[in-house]
């Protein structure tokens, strides 16, 4: 929405007395964001009004003329490209060194006028066409200025009213303020904001009866009737036929007003309808009566289009219509798309003699849907896409008739037709001074409240504290007391409102378990060198291809503007591997992790959903979430660098440390082949799917024994060569992905500190020889087993720590694992005998559990 400050000031008396900064800040703070303020004057400030003293033909050219100009304080000679001026005429003049507002010859010069010879005669400046002044598209002749106040040498901007500012507010900012899509509406608001007198055009308050009487000149010739088929879609349709129309150029003041708002003047009839749209926010449409009437009679139908109908519209395109699009139709076919655009078959042209002027009101949703569907965005559709007051159609029509009488010689030729099935009456809002003050600011005075509301056109009936407010129909956005509170707040000024924090006491908000788990994970990983990544939830299907994971079970975006946002991720790792690809050129070693959401079509909240009995889903917000996607959260990490050792163990080091910090025990890293068929069925689908990214032999499923059940936490492994090649990654990668909520549920994230024993610790290094396929964990478990056994018999468990020193093999059959076992009591100093007993029990346990033999030194 653009508006000229001068025009607004016509109806908000005294606005021009304020500083432009004050006006901008005031509107910004009380109405909406001002997108731009253009100082029109700066474009015209150096242009002058000149009077022609003498005119002669150019001696060397048939097309050129030489004019002697009076500029008040001096005279200049100018060569002109057109000869449509006479001695005594006032003309616009651009002096030497000044830029022409609109350059008609952009390929010939930069627009700055220079003293130059034209066919041998020096021209000191330029006479301008309307086109060059940005007033119309007419560049065929020199503009001739008319008026009583013209003086040679006066400022052109002043003479033409171009000493103006053009404000622009984005349409989106005024979605609920249909009334502000007009000069009158802006002026009304401005008069409230700046406490000015609101003086709308006089037709504004004319009653329907007054208008009907004035339009009835008793000599009707033609018949017009209107039939509204859908009273929801078309709330009101007013129209009238005018005869004797002389299509011609509009008066200069009208052309200037339109061009300031970026609307091209076309002819008097079109220009007047556009003028009223700007001034009053009521779109009008003019049809050529003779192109659609039969025997001086016209029946207009406002109906939904029939499937298969189409229309050639004024945008020179043919539009296919359907039954959701409201049209204006004659007996047989659509002649306009309601509220959006007219048809070319009924368009007015230079020969038009009789016109039908339409002034209607439509349902905003109907218009909006059609304008989106057809992709046609016009000034009318922008206005009708906001709620408009149906009570202004006839006033606007009357205004059009008055102007057309004056500027197009129009004569009324039909009755005023006004179909208005359900009249919209003003409505009441009840509130009180106290409610307003409690909501906005207790310091606002009652008389200030009354004044603000009155300025906005609201009738105030105050009975003690109670307020009964009558809301004018041009403010459909005001329906509840809160809407009134806003009016007070914005006009009173947000900057003037007393600001105080709520007085309620503050209670500490402790971190939740999930938050503490996340903090622990983040602290642990960053302090051990892994950077945190936040990848997009969206992912390109190609990333999954490369990662060797299919796109089954993934949510797909149907209106993605780029393949990068086509899918919603179901795993974190594919995107993290992609991160390695992007960063490998800058880093030799990359360590990253992410905690983020993953999504699967098959995972929805549902009371009967127990596909994975051991799965702990994220919390939900009640029963109403049934059928909604489960938003699972995963943790994933990647270490990438070149190494000859299996990089698996670097990633495992990270996980072992994390689990230790969470006090999680009895964790196992098992190969898929080690699970029974029954157990395999319980492994979550995401774990099975992610195995495809890894080297088949170097990937472990991480399980935790909890209350005698296997809890499946996630996967850890080395990324396969196939995936690395697909991503063009030269580094080795080990990676893990875990389900967060399980971990958070089972973890003990508090620190546990135990005071050290006062008695000395004893270290025993034990080297066991075991079969090559016996796992390290089995041996270690066998050692710890002794603690359990002894404490079950009532003895103090003495094994404090078991640390691996070496894993070695020089044969095909067996390997040697060396452990450092720390024995220590809290009750006494261990004697040699105690040590020997425990040593023996450890050796026996290892021997019986895994068949290991102590290697003799």
């Amino acid at each position: 929405m653009k508006f000229s400050l001068n025009w607004v000031a016509e109806y908000a008396k005294g606005l021009k007395n304020l500083k432009i900064e004050e006006i901008t800040a005031g509107l910004w703070g009380a109405l909406a964001e001002i997108e731009s303020v253009e100082d029109l004057y700066s474009r015209y400030k150096d242009l002058k009004v000149a009077q022609v003293k003498a005119k002669k033909k150019h001696p060397n050219s048939d097309k050129l003329y030489i004019a002697q100009l009076d500029l008040g304080d001096k005279e200049v000679t100018v060569v002109a490209g057109a000869g449509n001026f006479e001695v005594g005429d006032f003309v616009p003049y651009t002096p030497v060194g000044v830029k022409v507002p609109v350059n008609a010859y952009p390929d010939k010069f930069d627009g700055v006028v220079r003293a130059m010879k034209l066919a041998g005669v020096v021209s000191n400046g330029m006479l301008n066409s309307e086109y060059e002044l940005g007033i119309s598209s007419d560049h065929s002749k020199i503009m001739i200025l008319k008026g009583d106040n013209l003086k040679p040498g006066m400022s052109l901007a002043e003479a033409l009213g171009l000493d103006d500012y053009i404000f622009e507010i984005e349409n989106k900012s005024l979605t609920n303020r249909g009334d502000c899509f007009s000069i009158v509406g802006i002026a009304r608001d401005a008069s409230a904001i700046f406490n000015l007198e609101f003086t709308p055009p006089k037709f504004f308050d004319y009653s329907l009866d007054y208008i009907k009487n004035n339009l009835d000149n008793g000599s009707k010739k033609v018949k017009l009737n209107v039939n509204i088929h859908d009273k929801q879609a078309c709330t009101r349709y007013s129209a009238i036929v005018l005869d004797n129309i002389k299509i011609k150029e509009s008066p200069l003041w009208l052309k200037i007003k339109l061009s300031k708002h970026g609307i091209k003047p076309i002819n008097n009839v079109v220009d007047i309808t556009n003028y009223i749209l700007l001034e009053f926010g009521q779109p009008l449409h003019a049809f050529d009566f003779d192109k659609i009437a039969k025997n001086d009679s016209l029946s207009i139908n406002v109906r939904f289009a029939k499937n298969g109908e189409s229309i050639d519209a004024l945008d020179n395109k043919n539009h296919k219509l359907d039954s959701s699009i409201l049209v204006i139709a004659d007996d047989s076919k659509p002649i306009a798309i309601a509220g959006i655009i007219g048809g070319s078959d009924s368009a007015i042209d230079v020969n038009t003699k009789r016109v039908v002027i339409e002034s209607a009101n439509f349902n905003l949703y109907t218009i909006r849907k059609a304008t989106m569907k057809l992709g046609i965005f016009t000034d009318a559709s922008a206005v009708f896409s906001r709620k408009q007051d149906p009570n202004k159609t006839v006033q606007a029509l009357f205004r059009a008739v008055e102007l057309l009488k004056e500027y197009a010689d129009a004569v009324v030729s039909s009755n005023l037709v006004d179909e208005y099935p359900n009249v919209l009456e003003p409505w009441y809002i009840k509130t009180s001074f106290t409610d307003i003050k409690n909501f906005v600011d207790k310091n606002i005075k009652n008389d200030v409240i009354v004044k603000i509301l009155t300025k906005l056109g609201i009738s105030v009936d105050a009975n003690g504290d109670e307020l009964t407010l009558l809301i004018p129909t041009y403010r459909p956005d005001l329906t509840i007391p809160e809407d009134i509170f806003e009016e007070i707040a914005r006009i009173y000024g947000y900057q003037n409102i007393l600001q105080e924090l709520p007085k309620r006491g503050v209670y500490p908000v402790p971190y939740t378990k999930d938050e503490r788990t996340i903090n622990l994970i983040r602290n642990y990983f960053t302090s051990t060198g892994l950077y945190e990544i936040i990848n997009f939830n969206f992912v390109n299907g190609d990333v999954y291809n490369k990662a060797n994971v299919d796109s089954d079970d993934m949510y797909k975006i149907i209106n993605a503007i780029s393949p990068d946002v086509e899918y919603v991720r179901k795993l974190l790792l594919p995107s993290l591997i992609k991160n390695v690809e992007v960063n490998q050129k800058n880093f030799e070693k990359i360590g990253i992790f992410e905690i983020g959401k993953v999504f699967r079509q098959s995972m929805k909240y549902n009371d009967s959903n127990d596909e994975y009995p051991l799965y702990i889903p994220p919390k939900r917000f009640g029963k109403d979430e049934d059928g909604l996607p489960v938003e699972d959260k995963h943790i994933a990490g990647v270490v990438a660098f070149k190494t000859d050792d299996p990089i698996y163990y670097t990633a495992k080091l990270y996980l072992d440390g994390l689990f230790r910090r969470m006090h999680l025990k009895d964790l196992k890293y098992n190969h898929i082949s080690e699970f029974s068929d029954k157990a395999k069925k319980q492994i979550p689908r995401w774990i099975i799917e992610s195995l495809n990214m890894f080297k088949a032999g170097r990937v472990a499923i991480i399980t935790l024994n909890y209350e005698d059940k296997n809890i499946y936490l996630g996967v850890l492994g080395e990324i396969s060569q196939k995936v690395l090649s697909a991503f063009d990654i030269d580094l080795d990668i080990a990676a893990f992905e875990l389900q967060f909520h399980l971990l958070s549920e089972l973890a003990d994230v508090d620190y546990r500190f135990v005071a050290p024993s006062k008695y000395p610790a004893v270290i025993q290094d034990l080297c066991f020889v075991v079969d090559k396929d016996v796992s390290y964990a089995a041996v270690k478990d066998a050692i710890f087993e002794v603690n359990k056994k002894m404490s079950s018999k009532g003895y103090e468990p003495l094994i404090r720590d078991v640390m691996c020193l070496d894993i070695y093999s020089d044969s095909k059959e067996n390997k040697q694992i060396t452990f450092r076992v720390t024995l220590q009591s809290y009750q006494k100093t261990l004697k040699d005998k105690d040590i020997q007993v425990w040593r023996k029990k450890i050796i026996t346990s290892v021997s019986s559990k895994v068949g290991g033999v102590l290697k003799q030194a």
Binding site: K172, I557, I558, N579, K695
Partner: protein, 353 residues
């Protein structure tokens, strides 16, 4: 040799090649490949014979040999790739490490943590900063839903289908009609229903999504932080003071602010909150696009209809809510002028100076 015997030779060669289909020896395959396609291979021999043929058959035979050559090349290439994959796969399938051990058998070196201390993502750091400010002000923290329904994102917030204000959001849809949420306001009604009794003080954070192309200042993904405060006797001044207190905590300085009316159907009144540019103190610079002001958040008094949807009696309680874009805020605070730097996962950004 005539034309027909060339064709016979080709089919004889093809048979020979087919016999190689079960070969698992990469060297053998390579030898066979060069036997057919090498400089002195049989295919080149066939080409040599060509000139012995009569001119009318020469072109036809040439085409046959050429087709065979191409077929042959792609057969061997595919077969070799297949076998290579197979070899890698069978190598990778070997259970050659103890998955439970701390390091590899006989390995001299021990796995180590990275030596450098790393950072959290800048967005996380700033998000935690914001959340902690609100925790100290008594706000509970919730993570919002990222994939949601029209009902929570729009309808319960008084944005029925076809509402013009929906134009503010370019919305993604999944095939099922779910929406990657366009704002954190989808959690307003949920949090009210969950916490039930005022005072309700909550902040909600989530990634939010708009169907927009990525450039220096736009992205399809943005973090938002939403706040709710519902209690008796809450007014516009409380809202403005709370927002200001938070912003001064976040930017660690006094701020100059201004407010402009804005329309969101779930608040009444609605506002946009702006602060004087913290870089140029209002003089105008690149960060504030030479306006002197930074738009930091949208806010408003919660609409009574939304309170009712959340099970709160609007005649007893009032509330305010706000939503701020975290990414823009972090960019403002850290002086990052391209959102792609912030979201692009280039680790060089995360190495704090």
């Amino acid at each position: 040799m005539d034309y027909n015997s060339i064709l016979d030779t080709i089919s004889k060669y093809k048979e020979e090649i087919f016999k190689l289909k079960d070969v698992k020896d990469l060297d053998l395959l390579n030898t066979e490949k060069s036997k057919f396609l090498g400089k002195h291979g049989v295919v080149n021999d066939l080409f040599k014979i060509l000139k012995e043929l009569p001119a009318d058959k020469r072109k036809q035979a040439g085409k046959q040999i050429n087709d065979f050559k191409n077929w042959c090349a792609s057969w061997f290439d595919e077969k070799i790739q297949e076998l290579k994959d197979e070899i890698i796969y069978s190598k990778e399938s070997k259970r050659d490490i103890d998955l439970n051990a701390p390091w590899h058998i006989n390995s001299k070196s021990r796995p180590e943590y990275f030596t450098e201390v790393a950072n959290l993502h800048p967005l996380t750091l700033e998000l935690e900063d914001i959340l902690n400010i609100f925790r100290t002000m008594g706000f509970k923290v919730f993570e919002g839903r990222a994939l949601d329904t029209d009902k929570y994102i729009f309808e319960l917030l008084r944005l029925p289908k076809g509402h013009p204000a929906r134009e503010l959001w370019d919305t993604f849809y999944t095939e099922e009609g779910f929406i990657p949420t366009t704002h954190t306001s989808n959690m307003q009604v949920r949090v009210m229903r969950l916490l039930k009794k005022p005072p309700i003080r909550a902040v909600i954070y989530s990634k939010c999504f708009r169907n927009e192309a990525i450039d220096a200042v736009h992205s399809h993904t943005m973090y938002q932080v939403e706040g709710l405060y519902i209690d008796k006797d809450i007014n516009v001044g409380n809202m403005l003071a709370t927002i200001k207190t938070y912003l001064e905590g976040f930017f660690r300085r006094k701020i100059v602010s201004k407010v402009q009316p804005a329309h969101f159907p779930f608040v009444e009144p609605g506002i946009e909150y702006m602060i004087q540019c913290i870089f140029c103190e209002g003089k105008g610079c690149k960060s504030c696009k030479y306006t002197g002001w930074l738009e930091v958040l949208g806010a408003g008094m919660i609409h009574p209809g939304v309170l009712r949807n959340g099970g709160i009696d609007p005649t007893k309680y009032k509330g305010f809510a706000w939503g701020l874009g975290l990414d823009r805020m972090v960019m403002n605070k850290q002086g990052i002028d391209d959102i792609r730097s912030l979201q692009g996962m280039d680790l060089r950004l995360f190495k704090s100076k």
